[in-house]
Point group: D2
Chain length 339, copies 4
């Protein structure tokens, strides 16, 4: 942590700061600058957030943190990439690109089984589908809940595809974990710390979506919440951030992929469906995500998007998804990946 003193701050102010740094268990080092002093505080960083309060001391201009506040998620703790096993056949984070596909919401047995068969035929290794839905309107379809989980399990039984589904409430997290192969934390719950702690205590891999206005550092802090409770199987998912642009539903921040790959050992996938919000932009952004280094993709596919209960405009029909998977093969090879 670096403490920048104001230009012309009194010696007494500086001494108070030095005293406070020592009280917090750090060792202060003063650099005398041309117009002001800068103080480095060296020591174990668990107390760092306490040091931030030095910013309210007299004569202090600013406090600049130097170290990253996450540990377990950091490459400094674990250099080699984490490969997370989902089922006998499926692991994420290795050489094989993993594609999870299916409808936004489970609507009926027919719909989810048709979807599962279609995405399997196209080459997807996992099924996605929502049973508990976090909708922005209380008047929108809220999901089939446990009935939806049972239908997803049935689709898995028929096709062999493991599935990912969202968990929205600590109270129902264990129920979801009885059925699902991966627990998804949605963008709107990405800083719902009660929920993060809860899934950190369960024995299921977690797919953590980036929040709409979450920095990459905060994203890794949310992963750290889960990991600090004991669950190391966290998959990060870039799904678009909120910006001023309205031509797309969100702005898919693909540069987050190489940044995350540099900072963390956790696998990173991308969601071009939520990232763009329009089915005709999904394929190019899926290719681009793989080119940028993603370990996988999660894509919305619906047999009849015009009648979907949610997210119709961003869902691909099976025929379009087939084409996407065929071309994706070429980009996977260019990226030295298998699919």
């Amino acid at each position: 942590m670096i403490i920048v003193m104001k230009a012309g701050a009194a010696k007494q102010d500086r001494d108070e700061v030095l005293k406070r740094i020592r009280e917090c268990g750090y060792q202060p080092h003063v650099i005398h600058g041309a117009t002001r002093d800068v103080i480095g505080a060296v020591g174990d960083d668990r107390g760092k957030l306490v040091l931030q309060s030095i910013e309210s001391m007299h004569g202090v201009e600013s406090v600049v943190p130097i170290l990253q506040p996450y540990k377990l998620a950091s490459k400094e703790v674990k250099r080699e990439p984490s490969v997370i096993k989902i089922s006998e056949a499926v692991s994420i984070g290795g050489r094989e690109l993993i594609v999870m596909a299916g409808p936004c919401s489970v609507e009926s047995e027919k719909q989810i089984i048709e979807s599962a068969e279609a995405v399997k035929a196209a080459g997807a290794q996992m099924l996605r589908g929502g049973a508990f839905k976090p909708r922005t309107s209380p008047y929108s379809f809220q999901g089939l809940e446990e009935e939806g989980l049972k239908l997803l399990a049935k689709a898995r039984q028929l096709t062999g595809l493991p599935f990912v589904t969202e968990v929205v409430n600590p109270e129902t997290a264990e129920l979801v974990a009885e059925y699902a192969d991966i627990l998804q934390i949605g963008a709107r719950n990405s800083q719902n710390f009660a929920l993060l702690k809860k899934v950190g205590q369960l024995k299921r891999p977690v797919l953590l979506k980036r929040g709409m206005s979450m920095t990459i550092q905060e994203f890794l802090m949310s992963a750290e919440y889960i990991m600090s409770e004991g669950n190391q199987a966290v998959i990060l998912c870039e799904r678009g951030i909120r910006t001023f642009e309205t031509a797309t539903r969100n702005t898919l921040d693909l540069s987050a992929i190489p940044v995350l790959k540099e900072k963390t050992h956790l696998p990173v996938i991308a969601d071009p469906s939520h990232g763009t919000g329009h089915y005709h932009y999904v394929a190019p952004m899926a290719y681009a995500a793989v080119a940028a280094g993603a370990d996988g993709l999660i894509i919305e596919v619906h047999p009849d998007p015009e009648h979907a209960s949610s997210d119709g405009p961003q869902s691909l029909k099976p025929a379009k998804f087939n084409l996407l998977m065929a071309r994706l093969q070429l980009f996977a090879e260019a990226a030295e990946r298998t699919l």
Copy 2:
């Protein structure tokens, strides 16, 4: 809802859209433009989100919603402003400006009681303080939990000030409601729909903070979630949005106040402490919020911010808060408010 067809869309595409609009229970009206057709869909708007899926139909360029998706929160349903009673002495939304003040976190009996006495002496009508804390780092102080609620209740008993405190988990919401006068939903939980539904079922007023990347329309949809469960006592709080600017911790969007006043009957307050993140900007932004039409303020005050467990840099010392309250009086009068 307005459906904009592509320039040169086939008649058959248009007919399919008309058919689908009728299937959804709406009446279509076609306007033939110079280069394209535009179709208005008239009818009850509960099905609106289904209509959005028309965007995936052939020949459709875009679907433009016309009506607001919220109802109970809307001024179209209730013209006169809602005045929410907190205690015998305190109501929010009327002529009297309400100031809630106190520390970010309850740290000890001494700290919370000193704080309560100080803010009361300065003229605040309510106490604030966190017992369950949603911290971005799992290694930061997480709050005193029920012990903190008891200390807040003790401070209320001694000073007569009702208090607001945050609820972070549906599982502990009832516990918090046993103690608190107002339940706060923090910015990071502003689209935690499980939690919104839960506090909608409780009999306590709710202070709903705007999410960091939440539009005003989404903010009102989150209020609608609470109200649709039966709890009409919702107070909205502008606390800053996330932008590219880093000189302040967030960007306090004071224009949200007149916009909200135009669209909803619910009271609106502002949080200049989180909104700016630096104690020396709190007073001017508090005055500005009142000038913009806020019904109240929530302000962080700590007897010893340099040793605070959280949010030290944005907390005012009691002496500075005294000055703020004295000058606020003048702005309240200019705004035709009492304080």
Copy 3:
């Protein structure tokens, strides 16, 4: 400037950095941390942007600037607020609040003279109006150009109000300066450095609008451009930044006012018309700007906004502007200002 080395960087990498720091004329100071070294570089900061290139050296994690890159605009160079004289009667930055009002564009002699008389009657001290218009569409009204300047001068002659008008091109800057009392640099030209240098060479006060995605530091750097050419008479204008929110045309960042007041001696005004884009939000945001510490306001007033060539939706009719000025008086007093 602080150079943060990577955890475990080689001694040789560090030595290369130290050498490079010395080559640039700085004195390096090493702080040995628990996991990495941090190096402070002390010296004259003119070379700072060269030091930034150290970020590309081996073993370096990041380079953190400590000092502000502006000088002339800084309070460290000049503590007391600058008061900028516009005419015998009008100065900006002193105790008197200055209100500039008038139409977006000069459209006709009748329109600008009616506007000038109306805003004078309501108490405004200056007239605003565009002769050269920077419009986002090449097919929109582009202004009356020199004819517009003549009409503004005529309105000044009749009413005694000095006027501010925009300059959009270095080639016509001198022409504008022959007529105008203040040269306005619009938001879209706020980093048009050729134009900034040009107005820096002229002998007219400059009203510099903040760019739509400009940080406060960049805003002060643009002021510095003008000042470094010899023109110290710069007035800063907060006019809204671009965010995700669409309920207002821009997000008026009123917290920029206290931040600027802390960092610079230059006067700061606010533009609630462009800041909100809707006439019914102009008055509350005008009051709020004054409460936040603004030295003045610039407001769009049009005798017939429904027929305006530009910016109709955000222009006030004279009657509404009268009311605004009457209530503004009260907020000015609360802010210890005269009007």
Copy 4:
């Protein structure tokens, strides 16, 4: 254009709106909704911006534009992609991917010639380099100006590579056009309309960079400015937008590529150097841009980035650029492009 009336607006208000629509030369069509009327205004859209002023009429809630405001840039006017010829050997917008590479600024004859030879050897078809530099600080290196243009021309003569360089002032635009093969408009000048008009009158292709807070619609409007002056040879360049994320210098919005490809016939390239700001993220984002459908790339390469006068941290050394070009070949093939 769609005019949405307020719920319960008086019939007289609606009649005034209908009258005003007809005055503007449009044909109104009223749709009677359940709670409010919606009026479509049909006609030639040149007057559209005038209709926007209807928003200030009594009883009107909002005015929603339907048509895009650009024409010449639109695919509705020209369906087939534009291929822009730069030299005998180089065209942009066809099957061949074009890579422009070189240093941020021209610093010396040795530096620019070394750079040109290095990027040619790696397979780039064009050279980039700045002679007039728009720097955020007046104290930073401002470029070699005409001397720089001469050095670029010399590098072209030696290597055969045509070059792109920035134009920053209408007064020097013709001078730059005497030397350069492509005129670059930088992000900070993307709404400098005087400059856009000027380059629209010159006979040189223009590389138009997206502004930092520019929507895609505004981007196309700036292209329209150039085209409406007679110059149809406009190449669009996505170079990152400003968001809250600070891990990258900007957020490279690759989804802009498929969106632009859908809306315009103009070629689109990407700038991963400015888009990310760090050399180690340049290669993955270059691959991703090509996978997303870009027609080319512009990349900063410097023989000695640690001593560069500007943008060192985001410049690649020649060896790294070689590797990038080799791998890019694979992604180009997957995208059915030649390189």
